[in-house]
Amino acid sequence: MSGLRLRGLRVDGPEGAIVRGLDLDVAPGECVAIVGESGAGKSMSARALLGLVPEGLSWSVDDLEIDGTSARSLTERQWRSLRGRRIALVSQDALVSLDPLRRVGAEVAEPVRIHEPAVRGDALADRVRDSLDRVSMSEPDERARQYPHELSGGLRQRALIASALSAKPAVLVTDEPTTALDATVQVRVLDLVRRIADDGVAVVFISHDLGAVARVADRVVVMHEGRVVETGVTAEVLASPRDPVTRELVAAVSHEPLGRAPRTDAPLFTARSVTKRFGERVAVDDVSFEVRRGRTLAVVGESGSGKTTLARLAVGVTAADAGTLSFEGRPWTPDAARGSDRRRVQLVQQNPWGALDPRWSVGRTLTEAVAAGGVRRAERRRAVAALLEEVGLSPAFARRRPAQLSGGQRQRVAIARALAVSPDLLVLDEPVSALDASVRAKILDRLLALQSERDLALIFVTHDLDIVAAIADDVIVMKDGRVVDSGTVSCVFAAPRHPFTRELLAAAGVRPPGA
């Protein structure tokens, strides 16, 4: 059998083993997914398949066969003749992986130039066109002349795949190829990956997203702490996971709508026909919504749909050009937000890596926040400890710096900071999109508990419909700044009115009845 055959991969780092014995067989025409949380050893395994283990780590295999060639003990020079030609890698972030100073055509041509120097001139241009065609790039000749920054995220990922395929490798390793993409774009790239496998390439698909895996993979290998905990046919593993790790992964992506009874008290926060322009571009166009205490409004849309601008309007850091926002019936503008109501509307930002001052310990950051919330000096230490416990961290975390925290821990600290000033409304801008599925589920659970303890109103901005089901009562779906669908979560999920909502639901794997 050609394709890929791996036995007993081990990667050891200074702090212990990263991969502890991975076996993998991928036949031509087959797509095998490696899934797991970050730190499970997936990416390191992917890199080892190409002999790209970072310096300072040691690795070994009992057997590694790529497209019929043994790659068990190769020199760097021998590896180079294999990479691109027999086995190729598509990594997560196309913007980083593509050279910003080179045109797409040159990028796609590079593997051919290296491995088949005889192909030149028109023949090379034909190959580039074929590769771009193969990844369904429209107008391949024009795309070849463009630079990566001129392409959208989806097209960049396609360009990267095209460059990986241009020297016609037998094995393609893709490392989280769709994580950075919008849901509907994700689906198209996933379909492309499936088609590449159907064309006879052996595809290794690394992902933490079981929805994506279900769409493309024939078989799945679940990794946890460097070990394989479960393996089998995708549909079977997802339908009846045996290992607790797999069960947790599967549970984290399937949510039933909450179905809480609607509240009838006066809305805490209201937006009426709010519009915000940036120059010519209308970021938020005639948007209205209401949020009540103890309830969650989800704002759903793809990147560029105006979600984040809407969040910033709600927090009161940006002024609306038209329409009104009101908090407890009083007008809510950036000027009003500088006044005594400032602390009552708080924000949790998307990026947990930038949200905390890197020089400050967690304790210092939270102390600043409780001080801003009016807690007296003598009680601040206790207030900080209480906050940490509220978000599920031990008080010992107060001594840590952001660099010593994981993404999930940072986001908990950011939530604790926002809660420190006892807000009534919490605006969360994609608070869990940078986190692993199981961490995400824990933080969402924590948020739901905090919501009922504090009778908090939440505005939850997300692109992920699973999360909407898990946490929201009402939802507005945004596209190009406008609200295209709105209502209670169960209504919108059961009977989406706008085609875009249907597309989003389909991309998330939610099948509305009758659709």
Binding site: G13, I18, S38, G39, A40, G41, K42, S43, M44, P54, E55, G56, L57, V315, V317, R342, R343, Q346, L347, Q349, N351, G354, A355, L356, D357, P358, R359, E368, A369, A372, G373, A414, R417, A418, A420, V421
Partner: protein, 277 residues
């Protein structure tokens, strides 16, 4: 899955220890020259003028019979001091002016930046010369001149750092929880600016020492018989063929200082970039 293979660079540690040793010696000479000097740096002895290096006079003697080694030792404080003072002043003025400019109204900021543009359009040394020409010669004026010549870079960096830090998420978060804007600036923005600019300063010290020595070489700084490296170099330049040691040793002292300071500055910068990455 971030496993960082920390590379060890043996070259760095060797360079670091040599530069460190040189600077330690110079610092000692600047603080307590009496410990290192073998003679009185100002004591003239015409009978033993222009003697080559020997066990009695390690670096030889100059045209007035003064011990060149002792003069190099005593010159350290003044020569390095002017450079340090100038860099410190430039850092201080640069951070204040740069971060003020960054938070000023657009018109004020633009005007300030154009002044900085004009200053940085001329070579640093030329600006320093011009300032000394206006203020008149003397060690203090040299320090001021070198400060003015060096300050545009600091202003520019401080302004850029202030602007980018003020736009970061954690600074916005502090503002949103209700911390007053000025307090946010002092607590979250300025320390970061100071960090970045200090790294630049460690590299700038070398340039400032060189500029200061250059100005006193031209006779614009301290006057005879003060022991100062630039001045000694100047005095020895006519004797280069006859008694090279008079000029060579102060010259070597300047070179060793500037190279050591720059090496350490670059290592500091590399470390801080690693941390930032």
């Amino acid at each position: 899955m971030t496993v960082l293979a920390r590379r060890t660079r043996p070259g760095h540690t060797v360079a670091l220890s040599i530069s460190g040793a040189v600077l330690a010696a110079i610092a000692l000479a600047a603080i307590a020259p009496d410990l290192l000097a073998t003679h009185d740096p100002l004591l003239t002895d015409v009978r033993s003028a222009l003697q080559p290096p020997s066990s009695a006079h390690w670096f030889g003697t100059d045209q007035s019979g003064r011990d060149v080694y002792s003069r190099v030792v005593f010159g350290a404080g003044r020569s390095v001091g002017i450079g340090l003072l100038a860099t410190g002043l430039a850092l201080f003025v640069g951070v204040i002016a740069g971060s003020l400019s960054a938070v000023s109204p657009r018109g004020v900021d633009a005007a300030a930046m154009r002044v900085v543009d004009v200053l940085s359009a001329f070579p640093e040394f030329l600006v320093a010369l011009l300032v000394v020409a206006v203020l008149g010669p003397g060690p203090t004026n040299i320090a001021v001149a070198v400060t003015i010549a060096a300050v545009p870079v600091y202003i520019r960096l401080a302004r850029a750092q202030t602007r980018s830090l003020a736009a970061t998420e954690h600074v916005e978060a502090a503002r949103i929880i209700g911390v007053p804007a000025l307090v946010v600036h002092l607590r979250h923005v300025l320390p970061g600016v100071l960090g970045a600019v200090s790294v630049l300063a460690t590299i700038g010290i070398g340039t400032s020492i060189l500029a200061a020595a250059g100005l006193s070489f031209l006779g614009l700084g301290p006057t005879e018989p003060t022991a100062e490296w630039g001045l000694m170099l100047s005095a020895g330049r006519n004797l280069l063929l006859q008694a090279p040691w008079v000029a060579v040793f102060p010259g070597l002292a300047i070179t060793a200082t500037v190279v050591s300071v720059s090496v350490i500055g670059r290592i500091v910068r590399a470390r801080s970039e690693e941390r930032g990455a």
